[in-house]
Each structure stands twice: as structure tokens, then as C-alpha cells.
Point group: C2
Chain length 485, copies 2
């Protein structure tokens, strides 16, 4: 692909291209100039780039026209949903040669059929809007994550989003029944089936889930729905160690019959950090413990979830696995318990630039990994603080490293780079993943490609070549054809 | 690919090729002559073909050598597990130019880690052996299907097998954590991860699940395990209609908190057919009903599954949705209830050649579909008998058509062909799938390709070309490069 660079005549050429796009797609569909910048800033606000233009299709045919126009003008395309990703997958890296195609105006719920336990939604529907509409129909869409008020369902599918309910309902992939995708040649992959079971050979839609827009633009999705959650029991538990937390998880899977909908591990530091962000947050327990678990059981119908939680906690406290616990007695109390989990993130943000990770290892080695990784960081960067927490039931830990607040940005950045190397070294020994749920994007691309075995790399390159031979779809994301290949 | 046909000199050439294979792989790894035929007969015994040889690798390196040898000798490869498939995906269609690679000697369980809820097994492990080994470790592998005493896990993954537990645990795809695959060029895709959560971009392993050996040979798999099922409640219920059965399913999902592990619909004819195969089978209910459901709830730990079933049935009988019911009081009684479901298949087989289908439509339209499809068959082929049953919770129905027993084979075959056209015509109007769980193979290939939209067909062709450019992997299965493309 020809990559355009601004230079002599670049500005004039850019104006021509924008004018040509507006002529083809209608001026209403094309943003340029300063308005573009709002689309080019990442979720954390760490990075802002730019784009030749933002195309804002209203429907699938507009997306087709946008893709064809970009291809003919030799512009690359960066598809974007709610732009809440954490790995720079949805903002351009070559502003002058790239357009963003934003799905934000495709917000129709095309069908919602409670009797089929399915919904068909356009890519631009905001996750929390989708969840609300589904609940109004008496059902439940389980994907739950921090950004749900801003992220869009097309982006969730394109990045195979995770979140707090994965242990019960799986990643987004597990919730997808069908897709509509505009391919790089402008043809439409029409696969919005709502069939629960359909085993007609190779399942092509799987390729687009997690591809982060490198193979096409997801314009609509059909999704599985679940019975509405009618009862939720939420508890915050104090334990002696992460090891015990993992033992508790194993036991809870059996004792609670896989009805757990969340199982979040937090260190004691969680409370300190949360209170830094939300000073008025009431402390839920009077004593302190080396490890905490926020656990939720949820259900519907004839299963008594509160009773289940009660009997489970009695048993594990009698056995000494859980040292102390608070069970929420109201929705408000449950909300307050969750605020610690959320406040912990805000507290970290308040301490400034830090390393955020999203790692996974085998569950049986998770405690050992966290111990070794934190020790390695302490040995090499004793002034940094490690905060390890996350969806431990999935073997997924966010092991973040916070440099001292009073350092300069440059000093912090250097420590972050160093600590990442230290962590990845330990992670590689444990055969772990550098991205349990956030994807690859541009941020993790090089670390990803460096670890990719050759047969996998060859396969990826062959598939990219087969579907997007001109490499117009999100170049630089996941793959790097100027790099190792 | 050059397709070899036997002809003048064919036999001599075949001997040379077999000798060459034996020289390269060791005589122990190569079967030829009459021994081959046992591998070339389909599960129902309807079709027997042949093969130049059967290669029987003992390990992954043997598979690599086998693939390389076949490729160099310009022989195509048909991978085979337990050969229990129902769509002719694992037996050759060009015997003189094709070798079978049987995974039957790769039966090692490489690791079983209860603390990780995962197992790594070679492709040739028989499903029931795998399930037993897993249960000995205190866990549960949910895939359950009629052929489980013969089918092999590599084949289950390669065909994305379904079965009776899909409504609770998903298809085989949903149970796969990782794969080891020998690719057509002899390289090894090493992806036997046991990470529960790993979101590193495009998920390449998905391509091989359901590909039926057209893109490579699955040599080992890593799988998710679940808590051991400690309690099972089984009930046979009499209802007024299929419509009511579907309403019952919807209600059961909610009331039983998605703890249902089976929900099988059967027509009254089920009992007649089962008793034809098993005359001594005790009739479970004294009255007759227009529709029956075999329902199972299962669980572990602190949830009382028997109590749940009891309370659910009381409620739905009070509401008149269920007219009568028998709850198994022992394992033996539960086994007897399941015998009707299994006996029904045997009873159909005893009536001779018939049309077996494996269709799915949206759950909300299933009853309407079955009504219209049966009426269409009755109108066009009044002498045939329709038997509709199956995993209705998944929208999956086996709508079989039985010609009168006293007709000749040729007459039966003609009726079967006609009834298939009639059914597919109705199915297409309902936007259904011709293969809900059995796959495509060679049997359904033409019906599959005829219905495949062009962008999907182009994508499949491009992927096949990218991964298997010489088309040595299971040619004629799913795809047909001499056909519509």
C-alpha cells in the first residue's frame, strides 16, 4: 500500500481528497479539520494523532460507498466504534493517508426477538443502550465492562471484549450468533443469522471477531440473549492470600454450580487507591486482610441465590478459607462494594502515568506468577508500586506498575518501559498471554509479533493477503507488513 | 491438484506408491489392500469407497512425515478420527489418488490439570475414554453424543460436534481452548494453550474447528472442563403440542436458571419406534400425548437439583403447560427414559433406508416450520412417514422421512431424494440451516454450496487457497473446486 505523507503540496492534496470524499459520500458524511481530533485521541488521553477525515456512514450501503471511495483514492481505513479501546486499535498512525470510518451513526436495533433469545443490532449501538433495550424485553445481554456507557457493540465484537462476566458467559465471541461485515472490496458478508445452532462448515464470522478491523468493517451483529437476571448476591470477602482466593474460586465453581457471575481479586491497596479517588466511600470491613475477593452469584426463577451465597459462605468460613465477609443487603450496598473495584482504577489514574497490563496465565500458576512478577519488579524498580487485581477466575490479572508520583513524565515513561520488560520476561516463562482481553491494536503489536511462532505468522499474513490484498484495512494494527514479515 | 484415476497401469502404479509410503514412514504406519476397506465405510453403512492406503501415525511427527510424503507423491489426504461422521467427510471419494490419515493411534492424554479446569488430549482419544478420565479427576467434559464410544476427540473438534448438552455447554467449538494442527505444508501450528482467556488478535484456531480436515490435520486439542455433575434430575413430560414444548423450554431457561443440560422433543411415534427396536422397554406413562419432552437438569454442590425439578414441574403442571410427567427415581429409571430417545433411532434404522436430516430454524418459528414441512411432505409423498424430534431448545430438529418398508431400495432412494427437495424448499423459506450439527462433508456439499452467498464463497475459496494451495487436504469435502467456483 502506498502510504501518504504530508510534505510539499500535502495540504493542498489533502483538501482535494476531502473534497472528493464529500462529493462522493455527501458532505454530511465527511468530517475534516479540527473536528477530526476528537476521534483521534485514545481512551486514556495518552495519545492523540490525526486523520485526513472522519467518514460517518448512516447505514451499511454508506459503509460500502465509504470503503470503495477510500480504496479508489488509495486511502487506508481505520474503523472506529466508541473509541474506548486500550491498545490504540482505533486511531490512525499515518494521519495524512488514513480516514476513520466511525460507526457512531449506525445505532438501530434491527430486531429483538425474546422468543428466540436473540437481538440484531447495528455496530454503533452503545453497549449500555443495548443492555437496557434487552432488559425491557425481559431478557439479559451479559457483556459488562467499565466503558459500557460509551463503547459500541461493533467495537466490542471486533475486539472480542471481555469484562467481569466472562467466567459465566464467556468473551464476546461466545455471545455472537452472526455478523454483517463490509469487506475490503466493498462486498457485504451477510451473515446476520439468529440460528442457535448452525454447523455449515468453516465458520467464517470467527475471523472478524477479534480482528480489530483489519479484515473488514463489522456493520451489524446478532447476539445471544439470556434469561433476565432476577436475583444477585454480592459479597466482599477477606482472605489470607491470592492462593486462597484461587482455591475459593475452584470451590465456588462446584458449590455454586457455575452460577457465579463475577469473581474479582483485589489487594489491600485497593481500598487505599479507591479512597484516594472517592474519599467518602465507606470502608466495608473493619479489619484488614492480605487479599480480597468481590464475588457475585446471580440467577433467575426458582433458584434462591441469596440462600446459596449464605450457605456457601458459611461452609467456606467454617473451613477457614474465608476469614471475613460482607454480603450486600441492598442494591445500594452492592453498588458500594463495586465502587471499590472501580475506584481502584480511578485511584491509579490519579497517581499519574503508569503501566497497565492485561495478562493471563494458567489458573494453577496464577499466584506463583503474581508473586514472582511482583518480586522481579521490586528487585529491579524498588521505587515502583505493584497493583495486581482482576478476573482471577479466568487466570486474568491486571498487574499494574505505578512509578512514584513526583517523577517527571519522561522518568515515568522510562520506568514503565523497563517494568514492562521485567514483567514480560516472567510472563514468557509462565507461557502466559500479553493480552488476556484488551486485544493487540498498535500498542501491543510489536510485543505480539515478537512472540508469534512462524506458522501462525505465515497463516495470519496469508489470510490478510487473501482478504485485504491492498492492505487498506487498519494497517499497522495487529500486523506490520513493514516489520518482521 | 492432479487427481489420479485407476486405469491402464493403475494397479502397478498404486503398488509403487504404497511401497514408497511404507519406505518413508515405516511399514507399521501403512495399511493397504483389503485392510483398508474397514476405514472406507460410512457410519450408517450406506456407502463404502476405498483408499490407496491408510496411514497410521503414532505421533505428531509421524503426521508431519505422512503429510509431506503424501504431498510429494501428489496424493490427497482424507483425515479420519473415529469415522462416525454422518456426512461422508472422512472417507475418500477418489480412492486411487487419496490416502486416509487415521489418528486412531494417537491416544495419549498429554495433561489433565483439574486445578486449571483443562485437559490436553491427542486427536485419537475416544470421547468416552476422555470423559471417563476427566471424571476420575473430579471434573466433567460435557460433550455427549450417541457415537461417544467410537468417535475421537480430534474428529469432534474438526466437525464441531453438537449433541445433547449443547443448550447448556455449547457446541464443541465452545469447549476448545487450543489446538495443535499439522498444516498442508507439513509445518505445525502449535497452539495447545490452556489459558482461559487469551485475546491476542485474530483467533486462528477457529478456522480449523468445523473445517472437517480441509485446512489441516488436528493432532491434539486442549479443552475446557467443568465441575463434576453430582446431581441429575431426569423427567419425561407429556404435552399438548410442539408449541407448548417450546413455551416450556423458554420458561425452563428462566425458572431453572439455565441449569438444564438436555431438552429433547419427541413425537408419540417415538414410543412405537423404540419398542420396535427394544420390545421389552417399559412404557413410562399410561396415557398418550401429542408431544413429549425429555428434560434433564444437572448440577453440583449446594443447588438441590431434584427439588428444583420438582418445584418447576409443579408450577408448569398447575399452569397446564405440562399434562403429565414421570421423574426418574433412580439412575436405572433415568437410563430407561433415555432409551426411548435412543431406541427411536434404532427403530428408524430397522425400517430401512430413510432420509435423515439435521435442520435448524429460529426457535420462535420451529413449530410453524415443522408443521409446514411435514404437511408439504404429506402432500407430495403421502405414503411416507415423518418423524420430527431433536434438540428443540437449540432450534435443531431431525425431521426424518421414512418411505414404506416394502419398497425396493431404488424406490426408497427416489422418495428420499424427492422428500429432501420438498423439505429444503420449506427450510429455505424459513431461513434455516441444512446442517445444525452434523457438518457438510461430501453428502451435503452441493446443497451447501448452492445456498452459499458469493462473498462467503469467495472468502472460503481465498482461505483454502491461502492455506492449502495444492488442495491436498480432504478435497471434495465442503468445497468443490471443480464445481461452482
Amino acid at each position: 500500500m502506498e502510504v501518504r505523507k504530508t510534505g510539499t503540496g500535502g495540504a493542498a492534496r489533502a483538501d482535494d481528497l476531502v473534497a472528493e470524499l464529500a462529493a462522493r459520500l455527501g458532505p454530511d458524511c465527511v468530517l475534516s479539520g479540527p473536528e477530526v481530533l476528537g476521534y483521534c485521541r485514545d481512551w486514556h488521553g495518552d495519545v492523540t494523532t490525526g486523520a485526513l477525515a472522519v467518514l460517518r456512514p448512516r447505514n451499511t450501503q454508506d459503509v460500502v460507498r465509504s470503503v470503495r471511495a477510500a480504496a479508489e483514492l488509495k486511502l487506508a481505513i481505520v474503523p472506529q466504534g466508541g473509541n474506548t479501546g486500550l491498545v490504540l486499535g482505533a486511531i490512525p498512525d499515518q494521519p495524512s493517508g488514513q480516514v476513520i470510518i466511525s460507526l457512531e451513526r449506525m445505532t438501530e436495533i434491527r430486531s429483538l426477538e425474546p422468543d428466540d433469545f436473540s437481538v440484531v443490532a447495528e455496530a454503533g449501538v452503545i453497549l449500555s443502550d443495548l443492555k437496557e433495550k434487552v432488559e425491557e424485553s425481559g431478557l439479559f445481554f451479559p457483556l459488562s465492562l467499565g466503558a459500557q456507557g460509551s463503547c459500541r457493540i461493533g467495537g466490542n465484537v471486533s475486539t472480542n471484549a471481555g469484562g467481569i462476566n466472562v467466567l459465566r458467559y464467556g468473551m464476546t465471541r461466545d455471545l455472537v450468533l452472526g455478523l454483517e461485515v463490509v469487506l475490503p472490496d466493498g462486498s457485504i458478508f451477510e451473515g446476520l443469522s439468529t440460528l442457535r445452532k448452525d454447523n455449515r462448515g468453516i465458520d467464517l464470522k470467527q475471523l472478524f471477531i477479534g480482528a480489530e478491523g483489519t479484515l473488514g468493517i463489522i456493520t451489524a451483529v446478532s447476539l445471544k440473549l439470556m434469561p433476565k437476571v432476577e436475583q444477585v448476591a454480592t459479597a466482599l470477602l477477606g482472605l489470607a492470600s491470592l492462593d486462597d482466593a484461587i482455591a475459593l474460586y475452584r470451590r465456588a465453581r462446584r458449590d455454586c454450580c457455575d452460577l457465579m457471575s463475577a469473581f474479582e481479586f483485589m489487594p489491600p491497596l485497593a481500598f487505599t487507591l479507591a479512597r484516594e479517588a472517592m474519599p467518602d466511600l465507606p470502608l466495608p470491613m473493619k479489619d484488614h486482610y492480605p487479599a480480597y475477593v468481590l464475588m457475585e452469584i446471580s440467577g433467575s426463577g426458582l433458584v434462591d441465590v441469596d440462600d446459596l451465597m449464605q450457605r456457601f459462605l458459611e461452609a467456606v468460613m467454617e473451613d477457614g478459607l474465608v476469614l471475613d465477609g460482607v454480603v450486600a443487603q441492598s442494591r445500594l450496598q452492592a453498588r458500594n462494594l463495586w465502587l471499590f473495584r472501580e475506584g481502584m482504577n480511578e485511584g491509579q489514574a490519579k497517581r499519574g502515568l503508569h503501566l497497565r497490563t492485561d495478562l493471563s496465565v494458567s489458573l494453577s500458576r496464577l499466584a506463583e506468577f503474581v508473586g514472582e512478577a511482583e518480586a522481579a519488579v521490586r528487585a529491579r524498580l524498588p521505587e515502583c508500586l505493584c497493583v495486581s487485581y482482576g478476573h482471577v477466575g479466568d487466570g486474568n490479572v491486571h498487574l499494574n506498575v505505578l512509578p512514584p508520583s513526583d517523577l517527571s513524565l519522561a522518568e515515568k515513561a522510562e520506568m514503565i518501559a523497563k517494568s514492562k520488560l521485567v514483567l514480560n520476561e516472567v510472563l514468557d516463562r509462565f507461557g502466559g498471554s500479553i493480552s488476556a482481553e484488551h486485544g493487540i491494536g498498535r500498542l501491543k503489536r510489536d510485543d505480539f509479533l515478537k512472540r508469534l511462532p512462524k506458522p501462525q505468522a505465515d497463516l495470519l499474513a496469508a489470510i490478510k493477503q487473501a482478504i485485504d490484498p491492498d492492505r487498506i484495512m487498519n494497517p499497522g494494527c495487529q500486523l506490520n507488513f513493514d516489520g518482521i514479515w
